[in-house]
């Protein structure tokens, strides 16, 4: 009929294969979307706490180094930048280490899961469990295209689609069918493939021993629900190097927090703000320059709000400042708790004496991280962030009250001396990281191993070719 005729009024210039990972290929058919996508390479915008510049979080706030002592995040942690950099940043991060061979650690293949459209390709080719079972290193030559079209689109009709098993499985675990989602929900769910809290489940039936990517949503999205989930299965991400508490790491629960806010309540989707509609040269299309909406208030916020740009930005900053104020307070309490716990061990505390204290530290820091790891959270849902920080402060204080009492029992009834962690370098030194070594290893990886593996990728992709469409009409 005429409708579908119109749909394909434009002339596609290539046929896009079912697992096409190369964004350039898609770009041949959809040049505007592709060009705007390529703008995620721009790193010039900075806002009060966000933007596309890479922000070294450990430098900005060295308390984090201490809070993550014993875990890779204490080595290196940045506020993300554009999707264009997803692959580069993972290569560069000290967290991914410096493997020399494809079997080397430290990281599993699962770390690639959210970094680009080669992942669904590999999962289709080899199987999901098989993909997760691999090493990070062996996939350096496989996952090379940064987050792009095939992550979110069906090549046949450009419909939005979900390509990551973890999200589909999480829906199942909650008793929901993701295929029943509405169009508007899909405009957030494509983001929820990655912008969510996760953990690696090593006990998944049928995949024992594999780092199986899992979203802990079975009891719900709230901070308490996920906490209960982890407590129930006795999971912890790592043991804190100083306090020995069994810790949880929260990673970017953007979608979960967003859902508790008023914008979600009113049916607004991620794409409404981060991928607004745009006019250029008399053409309207979805702006694929995913970025802070504060760099684009006119097309995002002002579609719905008639206030001036400066006021809208001030609204965002005010919410962020209010939440940061209490976030920092909670960090200060947590730092003290870890150090005091370390002191208690030093003075001969027993496991039994420490048990409740360590659980309180675990829960308090989990609440802190839940608010800190979502860089947009304090705007997406400021009331919820306030609530979670309050509950973290209450929990952390319980830990400290118990600690002070225990320390007195152990003969130390005075404030415990706090280390100087006023810079990232000092804090990293204090927790015993040999940063020079780590950086040196990374350099070696980047100049020796990495180029070799990327060559392999190039050779592989060279064989993929491009499938030109032969026009069927005049």
């Amino acid at each position: 009929n005429r409708k579908s005729e119109a749909k394909y009024k434009y002339v596609p210039s290539v046929v896009i294969g079912k697992n096409e990972p190369r964004n350039e290929e898609w770009g041949k058919n959809y040049p505007r979307e592709y060009q705007s996508y390529m703008q995620t390479a721009d790193t010039s915008f900075r806002s009060y706490q966000g933007g596309s510049a890479m922000v070294d979080m450990l430098e900005e706030d060295p308390r984090m180094v201490l809070l993550w002592a014993g875990y890779a995040f204490s080595k290196d942690y940045n506020q993300g930048r554009g999707h264009f950099y997803a692959i580069d940043d993972l290569h560069n991060s000290l967290r991914s280490g410096a493997p020399e061979n494809k079997e080397d650690g430290p990281m599993p293949a699962t770390c690639w899961a959210c970094k680009g459209p080669d992942v669904p390709r590999l999962m289709d080719e080899h199987g999901v469990g098989e993909f997760y079972a691999g090493t990070w290193a062996e996939n350096v030559s496989e996952v090379v295209n940064p987050i792009g079209c095939a992550d979110c689109h069906d090549p046949n009709n450009m419909k939005l689609r979900i390509t990551r098993p973890a999200l589909v499985e999480a829906f199942q675990a909650m008793g929901k069918d993701i295929n029943k989602s509405t169009h508007q929900e899909m405009r957030s769910l494509v983001c929820a493939q990655c912008h969510v809290e996760y953990y690696f489940n090593k006990n998944k039936p049928g995949h024992e021993g594999t780092n199986y990517l899992t979203f802990p949503w079975e009891n719900g999205f709230a901070v308490e629900d996920m906490e209960k989930y982890y407590d129930d299965i006795g999971f912890s991400d790592w043991t804190h190097a100083i306090s020995k508490a069994p810790m949880l790491k929260a990673q970017h629960p953007d979608y979960e927090i967003f859902l508790t806010g008023v914008h979600a309540d009113r049916g607004v989707s991620c794409a409404d703000c981060h991928m607004p509609y745009k006019s250029e040269g008399g053409q309207k299309f979805t702006d694929h320059h995913l970025q802070s909406p504060l760099n684009n208030v006119a097309n995002s916020c002002q579609v719905c709000h008639r206030e001036e740009t400066a006021k809208l930005i001030a609204n965002v900053y005010e919410r962020q400042q209010k939440s940061n104020e209490n976030r920092i307070k909670l960090e200060d309490v947590l730092v003290k708790a870890h150090i005091e716990a370390g002191k208690a061990w030093e003075l001969g505390a027993t496991e039994e004496q420490m048990k409740d204290i360590l659980m309180s530290i675990r829960h308090a820091q989990w609440r802190w991280d839940y608010t800190a790891a979502s860089h947009g959270g304090s705007f997406h849902s400021p009331v919820e962030i306030g609530r979670v920080l309050g509950s973290g402060l209450a929990e952390a204080q319980e830990a400290r009250v118990m600690l002070v009492r225990l320390l007195a029992t152990l003969g130390h009834n005075e404030p415990v001396a706090m280390p100087d962690i006023s810079t990232k370098a000092k804090a990293q030194k204090y927790i015993g990281l040999d940063m020079d070594q780590l950086r040196q290893d990374k350099e070696k990886f980047k100049s020796n191993t990495l180029p070799k593996w990327l060559e392999e990728a190039k050779a592989r992709e060279a064989k993929m070719g491009s499938d030109k469409v032969v026009s069927t009409k005049k």
């Binding site: 409708k3 579908s4 005729e5 999962m123 509405t182 169009h183 899909m186 509609y277 008399g282 469409v469």
Partner: protein, 199 residues
Amino acid sequence: MKFNFKILPEKGSSWRTFAVFAIAVVMGMGFFLMREAEVVSYLSDNPQACVNCHVMTPVYNSWMHSSHREWVSCNGCHVPQDNIFNSYYFKAKDGLYHSAVFTARAEPDVITMREASEEVVQNNCIRCHIQQVTEVKYDGWLDNHRENRTERACWSCHQEVPHGRIHGLSTVKYNIAPLPTDLDEMVIPEWLAKEIEAQ
């Protein structure tokens, strides 16, 4: 390799298709009138009816990205809402007119509202926003309204509401109406569906 659109119409069949479609619209109207409640929800909630015509795709897309998407769909603005009878009358008339124009392939590139439609739309703006724009009490909140609200079309100021500032068929190159996903279709690729089933 030949790119094969299986939904591409046979040459010359489009007139037929649209005659059928136009008749279906009219008959459908009558049929629905018998089941009033459903008619109401169909008419007010489903913009799919409008976007069946490709010429409506640009306006559909702009509405879809507008501040009003969550509140009101096409008919809420373009069809009188003062009484149910009037709604259907206007809509049937409109539907016939649109399909006639469409069928004759006479649609202009930049469609504009007819005067009668403008009045309908203006009344609908007022229907929802009456208190905000007419009550002295809210002047402090909307201090610009008192003088101008009556003589002009709302969208002479609120140019973005709801279709944006640029109009016309050629403003959406691919003319892809965002495909709703709440039909029977899957939102996950086949390999993933199989994998999930296997679990």
